[in-house]
Structure formats: structure tokens, C-alpha cells
């Protein structure tokens, strides 16, 4: 079966972002960009399905600027077979991304679509669910285990009180949680080989999708800073402060 994986180019998770002085957004100039950590897990899961003989082809897709080709090449170096970039310079909402992915799903007809549960920039946690709604497929969100058997996939999901397992008919949508797997590193020979793998570039217009949005970001501000705390010398002093100064115990 064919597996489609969606990846996003985001600010590297170790970068402490700064809000722009004019409150129009966060400053992304000269900041290290990487593949969203949850997307790495999604790529790894697809590659493992291929290694197990469950998947025959892994197609990786990204929606974003020309530079997102770097993240697609990374996914190819990790074991994906070919890549699709839907080029868009704008910052798209999750719904617009889900509509573009729906168009790619219609074109590619994968049996399984794997996405990360959320992107660490917008922290939306929407795209996978929205794609599932648009395609009408079942959804296995926050997956910590994925098992394909026949025309079904059993997904163990991380929920607030513990874990839940659901069975979905294929085709289906899965979004990854942190504990699904440990992503591998790309080896140098594979990085070289990935440069020769096919990468197709499309546009929203070519896919016939409107990316108009009902949401508008008015401003972006830095969160209120916490006032500096103090260091106490002993546990006794700590307890005294908590009782008498902060009055929390």
C-alpha cells in the first residue's frame, strides 16, 4: 500500500523565539529551521511500515516556501521514495493546509496518511483531524502504536487518562505522538542518494484549492515576564517563605 506523510518546516525546537518589535509576528530571519519533531516521527513510522513490507511506497509532502525542499530532502534521506512540494509563500491556516492535502490525497490515493499531532510553531493540533473530515476517513490521533492488518489499522492513542485503542477502516489518517517511535538519523550516503530522488513542485492554483481564511492574526506579543525569584539557602527557609510570604501551603 501507499503511505503519504505530511511534513512541515518550522523553527528548530531548541530556538528561543523572539517577538518582533512591531508585534506583527515572531522574528524568523536568520533562525535555524528544521523538520517539525512530530513530522520526523511520522516519516520514521512510514519508513518502518515499508521495512516491514506493509507499505510499498512512501510519498512525503510539504506545503510551504521553496526552502521547505530542504525538509523534503531530509525525509527522502530517511527513506521516503519521492516528494511533493505544494509551494506557497503565505502562512497558511490548518484548514487551508488540510484542503491542499486533500487535493494531494485525491491525486495519490494513499491507503494511510501520517501526520504529526501538532506543529511546534502554531501549536494548532488541527490539520490531521481536518484532513480526516474532508476525506471522510477515520482518524487515529495522538498515536503511540500503529498496526496494519488487512484492510484495518489498529491505533493506540494517548488520551488524558491513559491509552485507548481504536480500529479504523483503510484508508485512514493517523497523527503521531512523541512515543510512537524514535526517529533515525540520515546517513551521509543516504543524504547524497536523496538528492537524486524525484521532487515534484505544485501550486495551490494547480490543485484548484482556495487558501482563503476566516482567521486573522491581529498581533503577536511576548508573554508577561515573571518577576525574578530568589534563591533560598535551606529547606527550612523555603518552607518558611511558602507559608508566610507566598501563603501557598
Amino acid at each position: 500500500m501507499k503511505v503519504l506523510v505530511a511534513v512541515k518546516r518550522v523553527v528548530d525546537y531548541n530556538v528561543k523565539v523572539r517577538v518582533k518589535a512591531d508585534n506583527s509576528g515572531v522574528d524568523l530571519a536568520n533562525v535555524k529551521m528544521s523538520m517539525n519533531p512530530f513530522c520526523e516521527i511520522a516519516v520514521e513510522e512510514a519508513v518502518r511500515l515499508k521495512e516491514k513490507g506493509v507499505a510499498t511506497e512512501v510519498v512525503v509532502v510539504s506545503i510551504g516556501p521553496t526552502t521547505a525542499q530542504e525538509q523534503l530532502r531530509t525525509a527522502l534521506a530517511l527513506g521516503a521514495d519521492r516528494a511533493i512540494l505544494v509551494e506557497s509563500a503565505e502562512d497558511l491556516t490548518s484548514l487551508a493546509v488540510a484542503k491542499l492535502l486533500k487535493a494531494v490525497v485525491d491525486k495519490e490515493q494513499p491507503q494511510l496518511v501520517i501526520l504529526g499531532k501538532q506543529a511546534i510553531d502554531s501549536d494548532n493540533n488541527q490539520t490531521g483531524q481536518m484532513l480526516a473530515a474532508l476525506t471522510g476517513y477515520g482518524q487515529g490521533t495522538f498515536a503511540s502504536k500503529v498496526e496494519v492488518s488487512g484492510d484495518k489499522v489498529a491505533v493506540t492513542r494517548e488520551i488524558d487518562g491513559g491509552a485507548q485503542t481504536v480500529s479504523l477502516s483503510l484508508p485512514a489518517i493517523v497523527t503521531t505522538d512523541l512515543r510512537l517511535n524514535e526517529p533515525r538519523y540520515a546517513s551521509l550516503p543516504n543524504i547524497m542518494k536523496a538528492k537524486k530522488k524525484p521532487l515534484e513542485v505544485l501550486t495551490p492554483d494547480a490543485l484548484g484549492v482556495s487558501t482563503a481564511s476566516t482567521n486573522k492574526t491581529v498581533k503577536v506579543e511576548a508573554p508577561a515576564a515573571r518577576s525574578a525569584g530568589i534563591k533560598v539557602k535551606s529547606v527550612a527557609e523555603l518552607v518558611e517563605k511558602l507559608k508566610n510570604e507566598a501563603k501557598v501551603i
Binding site: 473530515a133 482518524q139 515573571r226 518552607v239
Partner: protein
């Protein structure tokens, strides 16, 4: 304006996060209706009808909605929700699972995890692991929103007397089925609702050492949390994880023990009223957000703290 709030429940008990979500709805203003979807949910519907400020409770009691599978519940919410100005749900694993599916069916963008209401169409929400706060305006005819519980003080669970109305519509997509679940058992307060939270990180060294934190927590009536490092190392189950991708807490007192304070962890707890850090590395970033920092070996400090409180 009429607002539809999706009740958060496990089939038997109405979850406290519902009260915070109703509080957010009250800030928007307008009639508040609550939808309870599930199977054999009489007790939950009764509890929902008692919430202060709720005008009407809609009850969709059907086998198709058992375990609230999003494939079946989302079409129900989307069909009912067309007549409302806002659809709200708590940003729990359930709310996050269902609501984006509803938004896409209504062809509108969703606003995730709002922490405040500026006006009926404008909301604020944290982005980049809480390192920036975005103000977002929606022009959607139906505004679909998940609510971060820690951003809103809960409304009273008692005092209301809403009319209860059954919803007959049944949506069964037939694309998914529930297989089973494994819930972690705990006698301590729920992490997201606790007044005091004691969390351990990699510094705990192993799962057995968490007993020191449990002893302290029991004395304080606290819930016990963990950093991702402690969860990934297998010390504790992952539903204890506090952070950007785990639970978001904002207790009166948060005690971070053996936690370095990576931005992903801070995203889940930095709105706590008082933060205490116990760490032997005085350069640890956790000390930059801690109100009270103690540089000490946790294996000496925690038992001593337990004795003194």
C-alpha cells in the same frame, strides 16, 4: 448569540474542564447550551443541567456516540452547531480530537487553546510553546474554539436548572470502532485541576525514587507530574507529562524537582502562581522562572521538605 459547549466526560462523570469552558462561553456572552454526547449518560446530563449559567442541555444518547468516536460525534456537532454563533470545547485530548473535524465540516478555521476572550470575535492564544501570545480575530459565521482550562476560572457546578432536551439524530460513519482502553489509576487529585503539583524530572534517576515525590504530594494534597525526560526514561506513565505536548497546568504552587526547565516543559507550567525549583545544578534554566529556588541534592531536600510541611 447562542453558544454550544461540548461537555467533557468519561461516560459517567462530567469533567471539571467543562466548567472552565462554560466560563469562557460566559465571557463571550449569550445563551449557553451544553451538548452531552455518549451512551447511557443520564448522570452526566443531570450534572450539566446544574451548571450555573447554562440555559439548555442537549443529550445525544446513542450507541454510535459511545467512547465519543470523532467520526460519529463530529457530524452530530457540525449539524447542531450550524445554528450557533460559537462552538466551544475544552482543549483536552477529546476536545482536540473532535473539534477540528467539526470545523472542517463547517468549512471554517478553528482557534485552538484560547486563554482569554477579547470580544465575541477576538481571542488570545499562546503559540511557539507559549513564547508568544497571538491575538486572533475570526470572521467565521460559526466560531469553533477550544479552550485552555487554566486560562479561565471555573463557573459554579451547582445552582443552574437548565432544561434537558433529547437529540434524536444518529450519525454512524462506520469507519471506526472502539477496541479497548487502559487507564492509569491514581488516588491523588487530577493533574490539571490540582492546587499543588509536584513534578519530577530526569534527576529522579529511576521510577522507584518517585516515591519521595508521592510522599511529599500526599502531605500537600498535591498531584504528581513529570517532565518528558522522566516519561521517556520510563520512570512514570506518559499521562503525567507536563509541557507543550503534555498537560498544561497552572496550580497555586508548582514544585519542580530535578527538572532542568527546557522551554517545552515551561510551556506547560509557567502560568503557575508560585514556582519552586529544587535542583543541584545552579545554572539550570528552571531557576529563571522559579520564585523560590533551592540548589540542593533532591534526595536530601525532598524528604526534609516532606518532614517540615
Amino acid at each position: 448569540m447562542t453558544i454550544l459547549v461540548i461537555a467533557e466526560h468519561d461516560g459517567k462523570v462530567l469533567a471539571p474542564a467543562t466548567l472552565n469552558t462554560v466560563a469562557a462561553a460566559a465571557k463571550i456572552g449569550g445563551d449557553i447550551n451544553v451538548l452531552v454526547a455518549g451512551q447511557s449518560i443520564g448522570a452526566v446530563a443531570e450534572a450539566a443541567a446544574k451548571i450555573a449559567g447554562v440555559a439548555k442541555v442537549l443529550v445525544a444518547d446513542n450507541a454510535a456516540y459511545a467512547h465519543q468516536l470523532p467520526e460519529n460525534v463530529a457530524p452530530l456537532v457540525a449539524a447542531l452547531g450550524q445554528d450557533y454563533s460559537h462552538i466551544l470545547a475544552a482543549a483536552t485530548s477529546n476536545g482536540k480530537n473532535i473539534l477540528p473535524r467539526v470545523a472542517a465540516q463547517l468549512d471554517v478555521d478553528q482557534i485552538s487553546e484560547i486563554i482569554s476572550v477579547v470580544s465575541a470575535a477576538t481571542f488570545t492564544r499562546p503559540i511557539y510553546a507559549g513564547n508568544a501570545i497571538a491575538t486572533v480575530q475570526s470572521t467565521a459565521p460559526v466560531k469553533v474554539i477550544t479552550v485552555r482550562a487554566t486560562g479561565f476560572d471555573p463557573v459554579a457546578a451547582e445552582g443552574g436548572s437548565a432544561a434537558v432536551e433529547a437529540v434524536a439524530a444518529v450519525h454512524d460513519a462506520g469507519t471506526s470502532s472502539f477496541v479497548g482502553e487502559e487507564l492509569a489509576k491514581s488516588d491523588r487529585p487530577e493533574l490539571t485541576a490540582a492546587k499543588v503539583v509536584v513534578s519530577g524530572g530526569r534527576g529522579m534517576q529511576n521510577g522507584d525514587n518517585f516515591k519521595h515525590l508521592y510522599a511529599l504530594a500526599d502531605k500537600l494534597g498535591a498531584a504528581v507530574g513529570a517532565s518528558r525526560a522522566a516519561v521517556d526514561a520510563g520512570f512514570v506513565p506518559n499521562d503525567m507529562q507536563v509541557g507543550q505536548t503534555g498537560k498544561i497546568v497552572a496550580p497555586q504552587l508548582y514544585i519542580a524537582v530535578g527538572i532542568s526547565g527546557a522551554i517545552q516543559h515551561l510551556a506547560g507550567m509557567k502560568d503557575s502562581k508560585v514556582i519552586v525549583a529544587i535542583n543541584k545544578d545552579e545554572e539550570a534554566p528552571i531557576f529563571q522562572v522559579a520564585d523560590y529556588g533551592l540548589v540542593a541534592d533532591l534526595f536530601e531536600a525532598v524528604p526534609e521538605l516532606e518532614k517540615l510541611v
